[in-house]
Symmetry: C2
Subunit: 162 residues, 2 copies
């Protein structure tokens, strides 16, 4: 591919949520699998400058996860959450906490919408408990991780080893 | 006890959440345990007219649960969710879905605050994805279940077998 698909990241005006929309040149089953198979997740989740290691990944309704992102300076960032519901190829609802802010939790709903031509529109909705927490998350540099993560996911879906 | 403690249930004005505050004549460790031990939970959660059975109860950070409420007419109501985080005696964060509305999910944070005299103030914060869903939950008759459930919890904490 010579073109990179655009990632839309917007703050909801009514509720303390972030909405992310991104299209992928792969069918919903493949994009979904890249979100639940830990061997695929570890290859794309987060910005390029960080390396991901997974401590726990029990991708089923009522399961949980914990992973670490580490950069060149060896600083470790830990994340954990639970899988509220997984609907094969359609929808994932999960919780998310960054241990640097251990009292804050977001609930994320990802919907995989089939588009013509074997493509997918991923609609993600991440809800926090207050507008302050939501806005702090938007200003934390999450955009870098989301945009680069989805570019890396393009590469995983294309079968490259970038 | 001759007096019943009052349960405060309010709609948050800023975010699509319900706030519940209730005091108990028992210390935080006991009130917390009654929320995580399935043999205690089954004795109090929900209105008196319904009987609770638990299909799954893995009360740990990253675990999940599923239970059923059934009334005299044998109608079954199923609920499920995941335990995002359990902090012993202090805080529970969990998700919640009523399968009658399978696409709606709430994230519930319960904080157990120690009061003088070995008492506890339970502060519950239940966040939904929209004001419509939050208001529908408030109008669904949840008040009966919450108020009666906490009266039953009073009885469990007092050691009665009511």
């Amino acid at each position: 591919m010579n073109t990179t698909l655009a990632t839309s990241i917007t703050a909801d005006p009514m509720v303390p949520a972030i909405r992310i929309i991104r299209e992928f040149d792969a069918p919903p089953a493949a994009v979904y699998r890249a979100h639940v198979d830990p061997e695929l997740v570890v290859r794309w989740l987060g910005p390029r400058r960080l390396t991901m290691t997974i401590q726990r990944w029990d991708a089923q309704t009522g399961g949980g996860y914990r992973y670490t992102h580490v950069g060149e300076d060896r600083t470790e960032h830990h994340f954990f959450g639970s899988f509220h519901e997984l609907r094969e190829g359609e929808r994932i609802v999960q919780t998310f906490t960054y241990e640097g802010f251990p009292d804050a939790v977001a609930i994320e709903t990802m919907t995989f919408v089939e588009l013509p031509g074997g493509r997918t529109r991923l609609e993600a909705f991440s809800l926090g408990e207050s507008f302050e927490v939501r806005d702090a998350m938007l200003e934390s540099g999450m955009e870098e991780g989301v945009v680069q993560g989805y570019e890396r996911l393009d590469e995983v879906l294309a079968g490259s080893t970038a």
